[in-house]
């Protein structure tokens, strides 16, 4: 056995032990404890952040409208698995409870696939106009698309697809949304959060696996090549249009899957969930962890979820009052994320766990400066 193989085995062993601990984690907590709730959210956000990481981290296309995919995924769940369209009466592979109420009710796994398909399509549609544009223009166009989707979500209750079938339910939100209902096991409830956690974990593992395989594939290398030097990559025969659209499509599909899961988990699809700040929330996860670094992004997602849902509202919320200031710290959460973005970019642009290639670039960047100095000094 060579040293490299031994190293690989150690890594796999560490991963399996870690996975085991993560998998049995909810058994140590109460069925409906807040901690499992946060963990489930964190896992769903890992899925989303890994999706955005493909677009921003691998392919280098700054997408400021990622919330659009969350919205489309969540609305897919809202359309196909709730009592929202009460006039329709469609039931596909759903349990007894969902079968008994009117509306369109489709099994979660099928909705997940539909959501992935819809968002892939949306990703390609949003990606198409940006193909010829420079990096910062891409950011603005994706942002504009994100805002357009947000506006459509808010005002969609006025838009009738057909009589009695409005597009969205605006700010009231589509609620309740069907609980996940998998074959062979009990239907999920909001009282026992463990099954939700395991489904989120399965999704996260799936996306993690796909991310690793993609990164090391021909396509992943093409993304990185395009990110590094578009002209050089194209002249080496990389089809830029196809490669970029695949990045948008794949990244979007993960956002959509996570969105569909969250719609069911949070039991609502509400237009106010899809504001621009959410795009920045996910982007901050990617930046904090390290652009392009898969484990970094996982860490970033977990860290920001706990900062947002636990640290700021529960632990630190009293701090301003104690030092004599009169405001809620939770009001500040997005300012804190903004601050985090600035600090990370100025002080540690490679992120907490840098991608090896990007770290090399940054160090080489410093290196070129040094050689200039060498020329000047005797």
């Amino acid at each position: 056995m060579t040293a490299a193989m031994g190293n690989r085995n150690v890594k796999i062993a560490i991963f399996l032990v870690g996975l085991f601990i993560v998998a049995i984690l909810p058994l140590f907590f109460n069925e409906s404890s807040g901690f499992i709730d946060d963990c489930t959210l964190a896992l769903a956000y890992i899925v989303m952040a890994l999706g955005l990481n493909i677009i921003v981290g691998f392919a280098g296309l700054l997408d400021l409208g990622y919330v659009a995919f969350f919205a489309i995924g969540a609305y897919t769940m809202g359309w196909f698995a709730s009592g929202f369209y009460a006039e329709a009466d469609i039931h596909v592979f759903v349990g007894e409870f969902a079968s008994s109420i009117p509306g369109i009710h489709v099994n979660f796994l099928i909705v997940l696939i539909i959501a992935a398909a819809f968002t892939t399509l949306a990703g390609i549609v949003i990606g198409l106009p940006t193909l010829r544009l420079r990096g910062d223009y891409i950011a603005i166009v994706t942002l504009a698309f994100g805002e357009i989707i947000h506006r459509i979500a808010i005002n969609g209750d006025e838009v009738q697809i057909a009589e009695g079938f409005p597009l969205t339910n605006g700010r009231q939100g589509i609620t309740p949304v069907d609980k996940i209902d998998l074959p062979f096991i009990e239907p999920f409830t909001s009282l026992n959060l463990r099954p939700w956690y395991w489904v989120a974990l399965a999704l996260a593992l799936f996306v993690l696996f796909v991310n690793f395989r993609l990164r090391d594939s021909r396509l992943g290398r093409a993304w990185i090549a395009l990110r590094e030097d578009e002209v050089a990559a194209i002249s080496m025969g990389i089809p830029a249009v196809k490669t970029k659209l695949l990045a948008y499509g794949t990244g979007a599909a993960f956002g959509g899957m996570s969105g569909a899961f969250l719609a069911s988990y949070l039991n609502t699809v509400n237009a106010d969930q899809f504001a621009f700040s959410f795009s920045i929330f996910v982007l901050a996860m990617v930046i904090l962890g390290g652009l392009g670094s898969i484990w970094g992004v996982v860490l970033g997602a977990v860290a920001l979820t706990f900062i947002n849902y636990r640290l700021i509202p529960d632990v630190l919320n009293d701090v301003p009052n104690k030092v004599g200031l009169d405001f809620d710290l939770s009001e500040l959460s997005f300012g804190i994320f903004g601050f985090l973005l600035v600090i990370m970019m100025v002080l540690r642009p490679e992120g907490l766990i840098p991608e090896r290639r990007r770290q090399m670039e940054l160090e080489q960047g410093i290196g070129t400066g040094d050689t200039e100095l060498d020329l000047v000094e005797p």
């Binding site: 357009i148 982007l283 405001f327 997005f334 973005l341």
Partner: protein, 352 residues
């Protein structure tokens, strides 16, 4: 003979159409809404006064966007960065104005001379505050990243945008806040051919036009303006010619910030409601204006601002306020895709 010439003729006709579209397509798209509703007005009411009213209101609104858009265009022209926090600098301008009204006790009941003096003082304070703020942002968030990949300063810009929004949130709370209507902005001043000109319109245009003229004069005539244009064209060469590039960039941010502050004051007086999130939408609208005019081009930014103002007003009035942002952003996407160089795009290299 005929068969041979036909295939040659067809692409030529197509090319003519394409040329025409790329030259005038954007203008046609922009004119679509006013012309459509103009014809509708003519057939329904027999005159164009409603459209005229929309256009006048649009021009006033547009002059605010024009001032903000100049800030985007100046900064983009010189360091090729979309200063994402600019809209929020504009918001801080509005807040400073509202705060300063209270401090100096300005009320609508004062006489015109007192009010004018008070407003002029407020204008100065707003411009200085936002100018200094913009320079500080550049110093903290953009200068350390000069030479970094394009996306790095853009991300810090987004970060700063959030920080400023939160400052606004803490400063004046999270809900829309009405401030005293100091100038009776909806009061009709006079009527031309059925179109009402209000106090607010006069204020918006009466402040914007001199400011824009001053700005253009500064950039085209003064020594510092020349340095700015030189830096925009080629920073390295400008440095070699003895221009302090860092100072010049700071100066650009100062000017952009000052105009945003003035726009903030006008917005506060004209709309009489302010809130912490106004900067986000305003920033995107003004950016759309800057791109529409051809980014890097001051005249383009003004033109784009006015056009966007009119489109926005027509959309507000005819389609519904809640859809306006979506319509403006759809225009942004269309322009980006089909004519990223904008209306006056050929002059982008000149930055003036």
């Amino acid at each position: 003979m005929e068969a041979a010439s036909l295939p040659a003729a067809k692409p030529k006709a197509l090319r003519v159409v394409q040329d025409w579209l790329s030259k005038y397509g954007l203008i046609v798209v922009l004119l679509a809404m006013p012309v459509y509703y103009g014809i509708q007005d003519l057939s329904d009411e027999g005159d164009l006064s409603r459209l005229g009213g929309n256009i006048v209101d649009g021009l006033s609104n547009g002059s605010i966007w024009a001032l903000v858009a100049i800030g985007y265009t100046l900064v983009y022209g010189i360091i090729e960065l979309i200063n994402f926090a600019h809209g929020d600098v504009f918001m801080i301008g509005s807040f400073t104005a509202a705060g300063f009204f209270g401090t100096i006790g300005l009320t609508a009941g004062m006489g015109i001379p007192g009010l004018a003096l008070g407003l002029f003082l407020t204008l100065l304070v707003c411009m200085l505050t936002t100018g200094a703020l913009n320079v500080m942002i550049e110093r903290v968030a953009y200068r350390p990243l000069r030479g970094a990949p394009v996306l790095a300063p853009l991300i810090t810009a987004v970060g700063f945008s959030f920080i400023l929004q939160n400052v606004g949130l803490l400063w004046r709370g999270g809900s829309q806040e009405g401030i005293g209507d100091l100038i009776n902005s909806q009061n009709t001043l006079f009527t031309i051919t059925g179109v009402e000109i209000t106090n607010g319109d006069l204020l918006a245009m009466g402040t914007t036009i001199p400011l824009v003229i001053l700005m253009v004069m500064f950039i085209t005539r003064s020594r510092l303006g020349k340095a700015m244009r030189a830096t925009a064209q080629d920073p390295e060469a400008a440095r070699l010619m003895g221009i302090n590039v860092d100072t010049t960039i700071s100066l650009t941010f100062l000017l952009g910030g000052m105009l945003a502050g003035a726009a903030g004051l006008i917005y506060a007086l004209y709309q009489t409601t302010i809130w912490y999130a106004q900067g986000f939408t305003a920033g995107l609208i003004a950016f759309t204006a800057a791109v529409m005019g051809g980014i890097g081009n001051i005249k383009g930014a003004v033109l784009g601002g006015l056009i966007i103002g009119i489109i926005q007003q027509i959309a507000d009035n005819r389609i519904g306020t809640e859809w306006t942002p979506a319509i403006v952003f759809a225009y942004l996407v269309l322009i980006m895709v089909f004519k990223p160089s904008g209306l006056l795009g050929e002059q982008t290299r000149e930055a003036g």
